[in-house]
């Protein structure tokens, strides 16, 4: 099986005034293609920091990250942005849709940023929209959609460009249990149907239970073994 994500001995230290905050201390993680990994842990343990590093939004203080065979940690800011554009889709707790654009416009913007290749997959696009049950919501602006619908649009935006890896930071954190279940089911289905690799931060044990693997963190460290242990789904 192909390794999509490899993080080795990551350290991340924030400097606040004269104090060093060690957000991550020697974190190593491997994710294989088609895995759906949950990251859990108490608030402030470094989950978001890790996810930002994996997505190239932050530079590690030390350590190495490769995404789909491309080295993120050695890349310049512009090169990291380019790797992110080609390989990674983000899903956020607060959806982060563009309020002035319709659902379709939001998807189109992602495709415009992507611009190259990948966008010719029309069947994938229709299948994705059908899967997320968004076909009749395409002309709506975010304000005219429920939280669950907005997050589904955000998920569609993340996968429309066919990324190697989806990184989701508490995607159900702003949703009620019913909408959480819908969004989680859809992520799970994307994982099954398209073999989509997903790394998701969650506080919700039920959400984590839907994943193939759970990684626990505490105080900037991973407390479960870094090697993949399959939990039967």
């Amino acid at each position: 099986m192909k390794t999509i994500l490899r993080a080795e001995n990551l350290y991340k230290t924030y400097r606040v005034g004269s104090v060093d905050v060690h957000a991550l201390r020697d974190v190593s993680l491997e994710v294989e293609e088609g895995e759906f990994v949950a990251i859990m842990g108490p608030s402030g343990c470094g989950k978001s920091t890790l996810l930002h590093l994996l997505g190239g939004l932050l530079q590690p203080t030390s350590g190495r990250i490769t995404v789909d065979e491309e080295d993120l940690s050695a890349a310049s800011d512009a090169a990291r942005t380019d790797i992110r554009r080609r390989k990674i889709g983000f899903v956020f707790q607060r959806f982060n849709l563009f309020p002035t654009l319709t659902a379709e416009g939001n998807l189109r913007l992602a495709e415009q940023i992507q611009s190259k290749n990948n966008t010719d997959d029309a069947t994938r696009r229709t299948e994705v929209l059908k899967l997320l049950r968004l076909e009749d919501k395409m002309k709506h602006k975010p304000m005219e959609l429920s939280g669950g619908e907005q997050q589904r649009v955000a998920v569609a935006r993340a996968i429309i460009t066919n990324p190697a890896l989806i990184l989701a930071d508490e995607p159900t954190g702003n949703l009620d249990s019913e909408n959480s279940a819908i969004v989680l089911n859809m992520l799970q289905e994307l994982n099954y149907r398209f073999n989509q690799t997903i790394v998701m931060i969650t506080h919700n044990p039920e959400a984590a239970a839907m994943c193939r693997r759970i990684v626990y963190m505490r105080d900037g460290q991973i407390t479960t073994p870094a090697v993949s242990v399959q939990i039967s789904g």
Binding site: H52, G55, L57, L58, A78, T81, D82, R84, R85, R86, I88, F90, F92, N96, F98, P99, T100, L101, G105, R108, L109, A110, Q112, I113, Q114, R157
Partner: protein
């Protein structure tokens, strides 16, 4: 054009309108002032091109656009006529006064009709030539603009009454003319004139004649009539400087207005910029997105600016008799100011946006 750009602009119509008006104001300033300057110059040029005399003989400093004095002794006429190569000479008093509309200048001339008309091939189309001290003639434009009738009374020099006794053509110099004697009387300048028009004999060029006059009567100002209109910009002190300051000013206004608008825009959309970065948008993509928004505003501002400038110019022309003539050169300058100001104004906010830290931008409330 990226649909995000259009959507963003539509989202804040008032801000967009204010920025558009800022750019439009710049265009208005440039087009109206340069249009007025060249319109008035062209008008003077057209009228002075009907003067057939080659030489305008005067005292140094006695003629300016905004003022003139009658300090040249009319006895120079005889001395000029005596010079070889001179066919004829006729004295003129030019009087410049504040325009009746409150702005612009009104010009009056005192002439000896017979010799002036003969030299410049002018004729009376209606009524008769002036003779008494309270009689004037006007050209057809003046008659039409002010709706003047023969024998109608008009006020000149503030409150002196004059009677329109005739209409002359073609247009030449001042639109209102009276006899030299009447003008000398009004200005209490007996025996004086502002300048003397000198006509060359056939076969004598203007330059040759100018040289001869210079030799015979040194110390006076000898101007070729064909140069007068091109001297317009030079004859209004600082007009060129004024126009340049104006252009700079409107460039600054356009730039600042757009900079301000774009700055508030990116502050407002910090989280969206973070999202763009998370989606993998490059610095160039972000800068170009914001630049496009600024340029769209500029283009709309330019269109509105040109329309309002032309409408305002036409209205002013109608109600004041001032003449506007727009040139492609200045229109291009206005376009350049709008586009360049927009692009430049947006550059700082755009680079700032592109340099935002992605994680911090995403966390922005």
């Amino acid at each position: 054009m990226l649909h995000l750009v259009a959507a963003n602009i539509r989202q804040r119509p008032l801000r967009m309108l204010i920025s558009v008006l800022g750019v439009a104001l710049g265009v208005n300033l440039v087009m109206l002032f340069t249009g007025l300057a060249s319109g008035m110059a062209k008008d003077l040029e057209r009228r002075s091109s009907n003067v057939r005399a080659e030489i305008l003989f005067t005292r140094p400093g006695s003629m300016q656009l905004t003022s003139s004095t009658a300090s040249l002794d009319v006895r120079y006429v005889e001395r000029l006529k005596a010079i070889d190569g001179v066919a004829d000479a006729t004295p003129v008093i030019l009087y410049v006064t504040q325009g009746s509309a409150g702005f612009g200048f009104e010009r009056l001339e005192g002439i000896e009709w017979k010799s002036f008309a003969a030299m410049n091939r002018m004729s009376i189309t209606e009524g008769r030539a002036p003779s008494a001290a309270n009689e004037v003639i006007v050209d057809a434009t003046k008659q039409r603009n002010d709706n003047l009738q023969i024998n109608q009374e008009i006020k000149l020099f503030g409150d002196k009454s004059y009677r329109v006794v005739g209409v002359y053509q073609p247009e030449s110099g001042a639109r209102i003319k009276m006899t030299l004697a009447a003008m000398q009387d009004a200005l209490e300048a007996a025996g004086k004139s502002t300048y003397i028009l000198v006509k060359a004999r056939d076969g004598v060029t203007a330059e040759e004649l100018a040289q001869r006059l210079e030799a015979e009567l040194p110390g006076n100002k000898i101007q070729l009539t064909r140069d007068i209109s091109t001297n317009f910009e030079r004859s209004v002190p600082f007009l060129g400087t004024f126009l340049r300051v104006l252009v700079a000013l409107s460039a600054i206004v356009s730039t600042l207005v757009i900079m301000l608008a774009m700055y508030t825009t990116i502050t407002e959309r910090t989280r969206e910029i973070g999202t763009l970065k998370a989606l993998g948008a490059s610095r160039g993509f972000i800068i170009w997105t914001i630049e496009q928004e600024a340029l769209l505003i500029s283009v709309i501002g330019l269109v509105i600016g040109f329309i309002t400038a032309f409408v305002a110019g036409a209205a002013i022309e109608r109600f004041s008799g001032l003449i506007f003539e727009y040139s492609w050169r200045w229109a291009l300058v206005a376009v350049a100011i709008g586009l360049f100001g927009g692009a430049l104004g947006a550059l700082y906010p755009a680079t700032r946006a592109a340099n935002l830290d992605a994680v911090e931008a995403l966390a922005y409330e």
